[in-house]
Symmetry: C2
Subunit: 428 residues, 2 copies
């Protein structure tokens, strides 16, 4: 279906980072034309006067089914929380639970302007793919492989991922597989090397947690003589199709290695701060070194939201405070991280509003009090906007939300089903 969006204020994220007033013609899922007074014929014509239109956010690190555990086991130390709360509940997860947990997360993402996510999880991967397909957005989905724990071995893990790859690709093309190793401390060097080989062969992204905590740095240094990102570099896995999640405790040398390889780094400030690992991911230093800086929420069990607007603002003010520099991580850079850089990390031809790009668009109400005055549209998106301002979301040229109502699925049913599943999992 062709759609003509009329009279919008468009934060394009094009090479010049222009904000334009005009029309967008969407055809066959792509942005076919941008300009003034477009007259193209379209099945649907949208009056977007009074709307700010910008590219959908790309969340580069999630565990979406864990939305079922939002707020479960608050106020505990990490190890207790995992062993007494999260792992026992996860052990009971059935594929249907994963489905409804994912749908719940997708609903939250749509309402906060996210159109793509980079998922790593341990079970029910096919259900995550099905739910995302139904939900109308994009995802790169991977099994978080690990072989340093009982019941898992290297070839078995690789076999599982190999088996999943074709099954995670959906009909629409919006959803597909990536290859993931959980982390250097849970995966052997052999598993990491073989996983990256598989990813290269299949032309897929590679996703791994790295340097999230001080303990991990200590353990990997003791075991390998190298710090986590040095170690990953020595295994040959740093390149433009790798996403390193967290990267909090890193040296200048590791930053340089990631930068030289143009690896993507997913900074997850809200989860990092809430889990109280201490320290701050030097994401602006990664970017300066040449890495592809992106943002993620992590799972709602540790965040406790999947709101990329909040993540942009938190990332920006955290860098400023950390470096004592109000010019650090500007609103424009935070928006870049959350849009074009995120799309690059996932290998999606989106992230900016330019002719030829996939039509993943978010519409926000310029007339909301918290979006006025309009001195600076980009600053308003990053520092002032919240999900109440988002009225319409388009992915692949189709609306998944229109005038504040999710059209891609029955949202009320999703909340009910997910709530019931969550209650049963924790024995409520």
């Amino acid at each position: 279906m062709d759609i003509l969006v009329k009279g919008a204020t468009i934060v394009t994220q094009n090479a010049k980072r222009e904000t334009l007033k005009g029309d967008i013609f969407v055809s066959k899922g792509r942005i076919a034309k941008i300009g003034k007074n477009l007259k193209e014929k379209a099945e649907e014509r949208i009056d977007a006067s009074g709307k700010l239109v910008f590219p959908g956010f790309v969340n580069t690190h999630t565990h979406i089914a864990m939305t079922l555990f939002r707020g479960y086991g608050e106020g505990m130390m990490l190890q207790d929380w995992l062993t007494k709360k999260i792992w026992p509940a996860e052990a009971k997860l059935k594929p249907d639970d994963v489905y409804w947990g994912t749908m719940l997360g997708v609903a939250e993402m749509v309402r906060s302007g996210t159109t793509s996510f980079n998922e790593m999880y341990i079970s029910g991967l096919e259900k995550i793919a099905q739910a995302t397909e139904k939900g109308g957005i994009r995802a790169s989905i991977s099994l978080g492989m690990l072989d340093k724990v009982p019941g898992h071995d290297t070839s078995g893990e690789i076999g599982k991922t190999r088996h999943l790859i074709p099954k995670l690709k959906t009909r629409s093309g919006r959803v597909g597989a990536a290859v993931a190793c959980h982390a250097p401390y849970t995966c052997s060097g052999e598993l990491i090397t073989k996983s990256k080989e598989l990813a290269r062969k299949e032309k897929l992204q590679f996703h791994i947690h790295a340097s999230e905590t001080r303990k991990e740095v200590f353990d990997i240094l003791k075991e390998t003589g190298k710090r986590p990102i040095e170690y990953l570099d020595s295994l040959g896995v740093l390149d433009q199709r790798t996403v390193l999640a967290h990267a909090v405790y890193v040296t200048k040398r590791e930053i340089a290695l990631a930068g030289k390889a143009k690896t993507s780094v997913s900074h997850n400030p809200v989860s990092n701060m809430k889990l109280a690992g201490g320290g701050v991911c030097p994401i602006t230093e990664f970017a300066a070194a040449g890495a592809n800086a992106t943002l993620g929420t992590d799972g709602a069990a540790s965040n406790n939201s999947l709101n990329m607007i909040e993540t942009m603002k938190t990332a920006s003010i955290l860098q400023k405070n950390h470096y004592w520099d109000p010019l650090s991580l500007s609103a424009q850079l935070a928006l870049d991280y959350a849009t074009i850089n995120g799309a690059r990390a996932l290998g999606i031809d989106a992230g900016s509003i330019e002719e030829g790009k996939l039509a993943d668009l978010v519409f926000a109400d310029l007339k909301a009090p918290n979006m006025a005055p309009a001195h600076d549209y980009v600053a308003n998106i990053v520092y002032a906007m919240n999900p109440s301002n988002i009225t319409d979301v388009m992915v692949d040229g189709k609306f998944v939300m229109r005038k504040g109502k999710i059209t891609a699925f029955d949202e009320e049913k999703v909340v009910d089903k997910a709530s019931a599943a969550a209650g049963a999992l924790v024995g409520a």
Copy 2:
């Protein structure tokens, strides 16, 4: 008018911090009764099944008319921003601009669940009072006096405040005056002492910025031989009716002084981080020492929002990260800071849902995807909620927002008028 709220899930913030399912009978602006199956006669009966009801937030540090400067002069160093952007624009402020800027801020506050604010500003104070009265919420409003700059002197400043006190008190009783000194570095000891004397005599709150930056600490130490809060203590202004805003760079001794005096501290994490002062206000240490810990947004020129939900979450995760302790500043404590403690700081008989308290209530949609599942209502309010979930806001027993629509004033007109005023002020 009497209102009966039926079937709510009530986060009471009572002494036991109970969450109850039941009804609330509101009469003559107060919470008259809470219980199951209340049968009281009421002019209005509200079905609140599927709603979470909690006390309205109290924002203990704002400059609300500066909402006109949201996003104005981003990406500049503080001193340039003030001297080249904010001060020249403020010099042009007319009373009507202050009125519309305040209305804009009130609209944003209502939509994010704030029902009271503690305001300090430099001009147009009567307009702030009028706009807040019209807006339907509560405020404690003060002129930020200063006498260390040309054109201002001690007795003139005191005279201005004395003159304003009766004028800031509105008919409804929701709006009234406080006494404020801008900061130790802009006010003489004489002005600070006399201001506090005036506040004591008039039984009003006293509001002052303190220890926001390292430079201030250095300057006050050089000038007085004391650090800012030690200095304020030596002037005799620390007591239960004083609100210290910021208090970022403080010693253990200063924390103990504020704690002993049971002074209120307004922690403004978002503004502090965005302005990149560095450091972190040790708000949990103030609370442990006996101070009344509260939260503020500061003005939208530096925040850039007036969203207390965001402030609760940012405060909580910032303390956790700073102390490397996931148990620091729990969701429950963050909610306490933003409700009962805030009300105590401002001397308002609200902040909890208990019989006899003022009826300042916020209603949020429990069926929104980001509010599910309901493992922990308080964690969901602090860590997961956003303004899109807030449907109804009641202040003084009257609805200012119903079913997502502001009923107290014409919101569209406010956005238009404030946007026009803002544009003219910056020469757009």
